[in-house]
């Protein structure tokens, strides 16, 4: 009796989340999959089954180039957020002893989310623009003779914008895993004569690997689908898969957009699986 009710209780507890997932994640994806096989007549779509949408994607080097460009952003953003995120998390975890200060500083990292996307993007112009603060500073210092054009509306700007926005997704999980490391392990390593670098390499880094993996999954999945930052910081001149899909949706080419979305989803899943193969994140859960 108690056993049966316990089982029932488990199911009931899991039910809301399962329903939400089915309704708003699984069902939509299935719909996209179906639409991606529909026919597109140029002006409207017809239910049917055709591989034309996929054929169009795989036979065009635009899709390939766009995916490669997106990978480039993923790699650059991942590397930059990992470096910055790890340093910040390390500092917070090991150099700030006061718990309250620690939490306060951690919350500071969320500042980029306090303003709307549009406002944030507009404010990059006075900073990085041709007559912006950075350029006028460099000009006044005599370091450059001509304003640097690549500061804004370039790949550099896209990566900068995304690192600025998404760094927190790297900081949070790494900070979390660093905080869970038993401090006695570090003391033990020091007692056994390990240098600071050795302690880091042999103890801290392996123990924080799950945090890195989770952060990496966040970054990879976010950047793979990015289109707002790409458009605004790239000045519309930079390509990403998300932006490609957005343009197609904007022109009501749903089946093509759906096919691209399916491929994007598969590629992203492969990347996530690859990360999971490298690091066992179960320790973290």
């Amino acid at each position: 009796m108690t056993r049966a009710s316990k089982t029932l209780q488990t199911y009931l507890l899991a039910a809301p989340q399962t329903l939400v997932m089915l309704l708003f994640l699984v069902f939509p994806i299935v719909m996209i999959l179906i639409v991606s096989f529909w026919e597109f007549t140029g002006f409207s779509m017809e239910p049917g089954f055709t591989l034309d949408n996929y054929r169009a994607i795989f036979s065009s080097n635009v899709a390939l180039r766009t995916f490669l460009n997106t990978f480039k952003y993923v790699a650059l953003v991942w590397a930059a957020t990992l470096l910055i995120g790890y340093l910040v998390a390390y500092f917070l975890a090991f150099y700030v002893d006061d718990k309250r200060l620690q939490i306060g500083l951690f919350l500071l990292c969320t500042i980029p989310f306090w303003t709307s996307n549009i406002i944030r993007m507009i404010s990059w112009v006075p900073l990085l623009g041709r007559e912006g603060l950075v350029n006028s500073l460099l000009l006044n210092l005599g370091l450059i003779q001509q304003p640097l054009e690549w500061l804004l509306f370039s790949d550099f700007a896209v990566v900068l914008g995304m690192v600025h926005l998404y760094n927190f997704f790297m900081i949070a999980p790494i900070f979390n895993s660093l905080m869970r490391i038993d401090r006695n392990l570090i003391t033990a390593a020091e007692d056994m004569g390990a240098s600071g670098w050795q302690t880091f390499k042999e103890v801290i880094l392996p123990l924080s690997a799950p945090g890195i993996a989770i952060g990496s999954i966040f970054i990879v999945t976010i950047v793979m689908g990015e289109f707002v930052t790409v458009r605004l910081m790239g000045g519309g001149q930079a390509a990403s898969v998300g932006k490609l899909i957005q343009t197609q949706i904007g022109s009501i080419q749903y089946p093509l957009a759906a096919a691209n979305a399916v491929i994007l989803l598969l590629v992203t899943l492969v990347l996530v699986l690859a990360i999971l193969r490298v690091v066992n994140i179960r320790n973290e859960l």
Binding site: F40, F43, N69, F153, S251, I252
Partner: protein, 438 residues
């Protein structure tokens, strides 16, 4: 209903593709706003009940203005809800969510996409009081023999009529059934900063002039951007078109190659997609010469920055917007919608939009509501005899200044192409993406 979920699901699915809920914080600003909670009223017979009618409008920000809604509610006695959307969202909702609107305020170039969906109800022209006062270019394609009569692309009169009350096919000759009733339109061209350019811009070709390398911009909306690009390429003698408004694949290939080459050479500083982006690019000086919409020019000017909406020798790119009816409408709501259309042509709205530089479909009606000075400045191209103030209190032109491009006839009559949805639309979008990705 299936349409509704299709779009929603696609959006959600993209989110899923990109990862999980956390990833969407970046895109929330572009998501459509919540749908109006608006129960459909049942059949009604009592005419007094017109005050219970609540019409739902979708349209672009140009005319989805609270002042217009309030005045309409006051004059007509029923309620309206307006949703301001981007051109793209407007089309998407018109096509995929017919249950979400009663009145469609859209552009003529959207019609080759929207009309085949069957979501628009052909308008009975006999019910439009001032139909004969509409500028004849819209109704029959004529305009005093001016160049606009030969204009290319999705010119309004080409998609003005359908064959019958249930038809989804355009009619090339006038019928009794209209797709949209026009109420506003304009002649678009390049805008520039005279202080940074230092001389007069007189040709579309200047957009590709190496003198402005890294300081120009065009729109990143394929159906509009391609027309600007075509005007430039033609003016610069880089290529010719059989019909700019309906390019062949070979022509699309060629123009894309030209655009790619310009991009490689660093001709463009950025591309813009929304009105405010173009204003920011221009007022910050990042861009000195670009394709622009007329209110964007006035927005730059209102920041005390000089900006000229250049009259160019090759002519203008035109656009036109109008009101269409949803298939949902019936009974008293349909009557109310017709009243609204008639009200839009009656003159008050024409004058309201005229003070911002747009033209009214029935200018003589708008004239009734404009002052002599306003009419002379906006329509006749004469020097302003007093400061020109828009409906929101901003001074758009100082006393003595003349409208860029001059009179209505000079500007409208010299439209040579329109925003266009071509037969090769799919191919165009594909090549446009290629250009962006290059």
């Amino acid at each position: 209903m299936t349409h509704l979920s299709r779009r929603k699901l696609l959006k959600t699915g993209l989110a899923a593709g990109a990862g999980f809920a956390v990833t969407r914080c970046a895109s929330s600003s572009t998501a459509p706003s919540g749908t109006p909670n608006n129960p459909a009223p049942g059949p009604q017979v009592n005419t007094n009940q017109i005050k219970d009618v609540n019409l739902r409008l979708i349209g672009t920000g140009v005319s989805q203005i609270n002042e217009i809604r309030n005045k309409a509610q006051e004059d007509l006695g029923f309620k309206m809800e307006m949703r301001a959307l981007s051109t793209e969202e407007n089309n998407q909702i018109a096509i995929t969510q017919p249950g979400q609107y009663d009145i469609f305020d859209g552009e003529y170039f959207s019609l080759p996409l929207v009309v085949p969906s069957g979501n628009l109800r052909p308008i009975e022209i006999t019910r439009i009081t001032d139909y004969d006062k509409i500028v004849p270019f819209f109704t029959e394609g004529s305009f005093d023999g001016m160049p606009v009569e030969q204009s290319q692309g999705t010119a309004p009169y080409r998609v003005m009529y359908v064959d019958g009350p249930d038809s989804k096919e355009f009619s090339s000759t006038p019928t009794d059934y209209a797709t949209l009733i026009p109420f506003q339109y304009n002649a678009d061209t390049l805008g520039y900063r005279p202080d940074l350019v230092g001389r007069e811009i007189e040709s579309w070709a200047e957009l590709f002039n190496p003198e402005f390398r890294g300081k120009t911009s065009i729109l990143d909306i394929p159906q509009i951007g391609i027309m600007d690009a075509a005007m430039v390429a033609e003016a610069a003698g880089l290529m010719t078109f059989g019909d700019k408004g309906n390019m062949t694949r070979a022509e699309i290939d060629q123009i894309t190659e030209i655009l790619k080459e310009q991009k490689r050479n660093g001709q463009f500083r950025a591309f813009w997609k929304t009105f405010d982006e173009s204003v920011n690019l221009m007022s910050s000086g990042e861009v000195v010469l670009q394709s622009m919409w007329s209110p964007a020019v006035t927005a730059v000017q209102s920041r005390d920055i000089e900006c000229i909406y250049a009259p160019l020798t090759e002519g203008y790119r035109g656009w036109g917007g109008g009101i269409g009816l949803s298939q949902n409408l019936s009974g008293i709501e349909l009557d109310a919608a017709y009243e609204y259309i008639n009200w839009m042509l009656e003159g008050w709205v024409g004058a309201f939009l005229g003070r911002q530089g747009y033209y009214s479909a029935a200018p003589e009606n708008a004239k009734k509501y404009m002052s002599q000075a306003e009419w002379e400045y906006w329509y006749e191209g004469q020097p302003a005899s007093e400061d020109m103030v828009d409906p929101f209190g901003t001074t758009l032109a100082a006393q003595g200044s003349v409208r860029d491009g001059g009179s209505f006839e000079e500007r409208f009559g010299n439209i040579v192409c329109w925003n266009s949805t071509m037969e090769e639309n799919t191919y165009l979008v594909q090549k446009w993406n290629e250009f962006i990705a290059s």
